[in-house]
Symmetry: C2
Subunit: 229 residues, 2 copies
């Protein structure tokens, strides 16, 4: 099977000298080769932790370690990397077994996220930290319009909508299922539905807070579903 | 209070251009300054994860991701960094409050490990990855005579002995408290005592395996004790 890896290199803004390296980064373990992308994923994971950590260190000069960790955790995770992988159409280039292919492998967040980490690991190996830093930061800034602690929370609703649209072609629905307490101290209970199935419910001091917390839980459930497949 | 930071720089093999940077890396939050070492620790933590990850990636070319993760986890943790910090006499240079000083702060593994990460973060910021890589790898190779999956296990006994000697001036004692099963399938239960107090017990197919597992648990208990102080 041949893939137009040059198109991917074009999108990445990086041309590999060692073509075997990018092939390894794109090879899922199901593809039964003497190599797969798990070692490069191991490396890329650490590379991304440092790149994002340093980026936030400089961007938020007044934030303490706890805040930096929280913001990083919101970017450096399967959902975040899945998003970056999709922006590169990485799924098209992955080498996987027919069984995994038929199982929707090209569209699985875990698989896409791992391949993204592996590609970053491969660029790091060949071109060094500075090069891979500029590539990764460009991607992150393009795909996360606002990076801040305040925007984290609201990101869950956006993330969930992107996820359900990609996967089911629909947007999630939020319903207030209960409200309690006196007016000045009201609490809302909100449930989130995807295709009329309730995925999560959560309480909060405002509908917005409850929606976002419910969205967060739904995102985690959807992603966990992938991992266990 | 003045400290001979030049002596530390000598040991590190690195002279800081920005002296404020190393001072920040050595400042515990108890010392009530407008800065402390927690942001640099955040950065250094990621730097060390990458340095050690890449080191193992190249050293163990045939090992899969799971094995690499395990070996890294055995090096990149509080006990491991505490050991490296002590090899630099880092405790002598840390700025902390009188209260923390009287509380044995200079000798706490958590405090030492954090300061070590912060120093690595500071060198990275000023001198870049390559420089800090060579410093960290030299330190790790000097302090971990054998880095491999096989040696991990036996390291726990060594680590525990170093810990109890530094802290209590004694070596731990291991006693076989039970052995079960037929000769060809015997299982041993071993308990580890420090100052006649039992700290942990564990079973294994050989006395050695049981000892090492018990040592591991004791190390974790001793370190947890520090964190909660």
């Amino acid at each position: 099977m041949s893939r137009n890896i040059e198109a991917l290199e074009e999108t990445l803004g990086y041309r590999f000298k060692d073509k075997q390296l990018i092939i390894e980064a794109l090879t899922h373990k199901s593809y039964k080769q003497p190599y797969d992308n798990e070692r490069l994923e191991f490396l890329g994971d650490a590379v991304l932790d440092l790149i994002v950590g340093e980026y936030l260190f400089h961007k938020f000069k007044k934030s303490d370690e706890g805040k930096l960790s929280k913001i990083r955790a919101s970017l450096v995770n399967e959902t975040g990397f899945d998003k970056l992988a999709r922006s590169l159409n990485l799924g098209e280039y992955i080498f996987l077994s027919n069984a995994e292919e038929n199982n929707g492998g090209r569209d699985k967040p875990s698989l896409l996220s791992n391949a993204f980490e592996a590609v970053i690991g491969a660029i790091y190996l060949e071109a060094g930290l500075q090069k891979v830093q500029s590539i990764a930061i460009k991607l992150i800034e393009k795909n996360h319009k606002e990076i801040s602690l305040d925007s984290l929370f609201s990101d869950y609703k956006t993330t969930l909508q992107e996820l359900t649209q990609a996967r089911f072609g629909i947007t999630p629905e939020y319903k207030v299922v209960a409200s309690r307490g006196p007016d000045h101290q009201k609490e809302f209970e909100v449930a989130v539905f995807i295709e009329d199935k309730e995925y999560a419910r959560s309480c909060g001091k405002s509908k917005k807070i409850a929606q976002q917390e419910a969205a967060k839980q739904a995102v985690e459930m959807l992603n966990k579903g992938d991992a266990s497949e």
